[in-house]
């Protein structure tokens, strides 16, 4: 059976590395380092799950989420928002953006793995 695809939109290299180590053996991974590239890649790849960081260059994760929600080609793809809740209102904005779930930073690799398996059972 074909491997399911996960799109990681994350500007921090080490966080991408963790995701690669954690999920790379079980899923096909594609990566983007800013919001605009992430949206473009999502439309091109039509992945099965998107892991979206909030604080991104060029376009914030929340804005990218809204765009993907509004696009008929991508609106069915579940999006997990990853946020540090550093600023007041982040929690509300994350809930309002239309994400399927959100994960609080700092998360442990175990938490991320459990959340991904909930959406994409092996």
């Amino acid at each position: 059976m074909d491997q399911q695809t996960i799109l990681t939109i994350e500007d921090n290299e080490y966080n991408r590395k963790i995701v690669r180590k954690l999920l790379g053996s079980s899923y096909r991974l594609v990566e983007a380092v800013d919001g605009e590239a992430g949206v473009a890649l999502a439309v091109a790849e039509l992945p099965d799950l998107i892991l979206m960081d909030v604080q991104l260059p060029k376009m914030s994760g929340l804005e990218a989420t809204r765009i993907l929600r509004a696009d008929a080609r991508t609106k069915h793809i579940p999006i997990v928002i990853i946020t540090s809740f550093a600023l007041s209102g982040d929690r509300e904005r994350a809930a309002d953006s239309g994400a399927a779930a959100y994960l609080a930073k700092p998360y442990s690799p175990g938490e991320l793995l459990a959340l991904v398996r909930k959406f994409l059972p092996e």
């Binding site: 590395k17 954690l22 540090s84 509300e92 930073k105 690799p109």
Partner: protein, 531 residues
């Protein structure tokens, strides 16, 4: 309207007089009073004059009456003379003499009451009467001597002549009196008419003057009072720029000057106060900006700190979990130490960030329904292994049938975790117990331990920031020293309170109570809550 009339000019002139209000009022009353006194004096004079003229008239009447008596006596005298001559009787002579007495009596009165110019006329009448009486004496002699027959005619002629003379003179007297009386009557009538006109004129003048005085004086007072009214209304409304224009020379003028002084002072103070307020506002704005910048910086910094920390913890966990292959036994402990210290650093960063957000007023509660047993269960689950490692009993006791609660369960979990974590940390033997009860619409969370306890001096400070019982405690037990003060702020944001009961060496009990349903009207809110 009044201002442009001559009356208005008069009002201004009176207002400008340099005299007190009392003096002005007294002067106005005096003017009116003097006019009334003058009118009274004139009336008295008129009454006296009229009385004198009436008396003169009475006297004239009297004189006319006496003159008539004289005429009557003369007529009778003539009648008796004729009778004496005809009857040749001496008794008739006696009657003539009696009439003569009457005549003389009336003439004496007339002379006494008469005017000086009449005296001569009276004397003439008297001499005529004397002549008439001489004729009567002749008659009497002739009757006595029986020689009447020869002289009757002469005597009669003489008597008639004298009689005519007297009558003419008395008539002259009466006529002069009557002329005089007519003059007097005319004079009285004229005086009465004049008196009436003058009195009426006085009365009208007095009324007009009284009205004028009242009008002018009252307006000279009312005008400044109205000005002051408008002026004070503006001052009361906060407009201190106005000035009152009152040129009264009396107390009103002085009052207006003081009002202007007051207004200038108010304006000056107002300006000072406004400047100070503006300065405060700008200072406050700058402070707010600085504070926001600080909070913003802290938030960003925390995020920046957490990103690499996240990677450190993530990689460590993955190494420990064997994702990179089998870990040599001698590396397991140092890897665990890296992980524990990384977690501690993360907790510190989180606490500092929470405190910064709370102090910047940017911490918001995320209210939702939650289950109390689940909340207590998750805290128990997280700390169970820690308690077990120390060999402590760790129990929970939640009241049965608690309804669904509402609040920020994440923050409440953080508070309970903090209290229970502290309890386990500071207890060497015995146990820790978490209890929850519902009391008057409020949940009471209770965490009791059999630990080292807290003395009364420390107990009052434990909720302040960066406080632990003493510095050695931090080294021995770990912790940021921020947990209790953050918990206190979260509880207060929920509308609740947190407190502790303890004795050094005998264990401690920490309590906090929060409304069962935060943000919803409670049937208990009207009742004072007891701890």
């Amino acid at each position: 309207m009044l201002a442009r009339t001559p009356l208005g000019a008069l009002v201004r002139a009176v207002a400008g007089i340099r005299a007190s209000v009392h003096t002005k009022l007294m002067a106005a009353f005096m003017i009116v009073t003097i006019l009334f006194v003058a009118m009274g004096a004139f009336s008295v004079r008129t009454v006296l004059l009229t009385g004198e003229q009436s008396r003169q008239l009475d006297l004239a009447h009297q004189r006319v009456a006496w003159s008539q008596q004289i005429e009557q006596a003369l007529a009778r005298q003539m009648h008796f003379s004729v009778l004496a001559l005809l009857s040749q009787d001496e008794a008739a002579i006696a009657k003539i003499l009696r009439e003569n007495n009457r005549f003389n009596e009336a003439l004496a009165k007339l002379d006494a009451a008469g005017l000086p110019e009449q005296h001569q006329l009276v004397e003439q009448v008297r001499s005529s009467q004397d002549a008439a009486m001489a004729v009567v004496a002749d008659m009497a002699n002739a009757i006595r001597d029986r020689t009447l027959g020869q002289v009757t005619r002469d005597l009669l002629v003489q008597q008639e002549r004298i009689d005519g003379e007297i009558t003419a003179r008395v008539a002259n007297l009466v006529e002069t009196e009557q002329r005089r009386m007519t003059r007097l009557r005319d004079s009285i009538a004229t005086a009465n008419r004049n008196s009436l006109v003058t009195t009426a004129a006085f009365a009208v003048a007095a009324v007009v003057l009284a009205w004028l005085c009242g009008f002018v004086i009252s307006w000279s007072f009312v005008t400044p009072v109205r000005e002051a009214q408008g002026f004070l209304a503006r001052v009361a409304a906060g407009d201190f720029t106005g000035r009152i224009d009152v040129r009264n020379g009396d107390e009103f003028g002085a009052l207006a000057e003081q009002m202007n002084f007051m207004s200038r002072e108010l304006q000056r103070l107002d300006t000072i106060q406004r400047d100070a307020a503006a300065e405060l506002v700008s200072l406050n704005t700058r402070l707010e900006q600085a504070s926001n910048a600080k909070s913003e910086f802290l938030a960003n910094m925390s995020h920046e700190l957490r990103t690499p920390l996240n990677a450190i913890l993530g990689f460590t966990e993955m190494v420990v979990d064997g994702l990179y292959g089998e870990v040599p036994a001698e590396l397991k402990e140092p890897l665990q130490d890296i992980h524990v210290n990384g977690k501690h650093l993360l907790r510190l960063i989180n606490d500092v960030l929470d405190l910064a957000k709370i102090e910047a007023g940017r911490m918001e509660l995320a209210l939702r329904d939650y289950s109390v047993p689940d909340l207590v269960g998750s805290v128990h689950g997280s700390l169970r292994s820690l308690a077990a490692e120390k060999g402590l009993a760790f129990e929970t006791e939640v009241q049965d049938d608690l309804p669904a609660a509402r609040g920020d369960d994440g923050r409440l979990t953080q508070c309970l975790m903090n209290l229970a974590g502290n309890a386990i940390k500071f207890t060497r033997e015995g146990g820790v117990r978490i209890g929850v009860t519902l009391d008057e619409g409020e949940l009471i969370f209770r965490v009791s331990d059999t630990g080292i306890g807290i003395g009364p001096n420390e107990l009052q400070h434990i909720f302040a920031e960066f406080r632990q019982v003493d510095a050695t405690v931090t080294r021995e037990y770990g912790g940021t020293g921020l947990g209790l003060s953050i918990s206190k702020k979260f509880i207060e944001m929920h509308g609740g309170r947190i407190w502790a009961e303890s004795k050094a060496g005998e264990g401690s009990t920490f309590f906090f109570r929060v409304p069962l349903r935060v943000g919803e009207p409670s049937p208990w809110t009207s009742k004072p809550s007891s701890p």
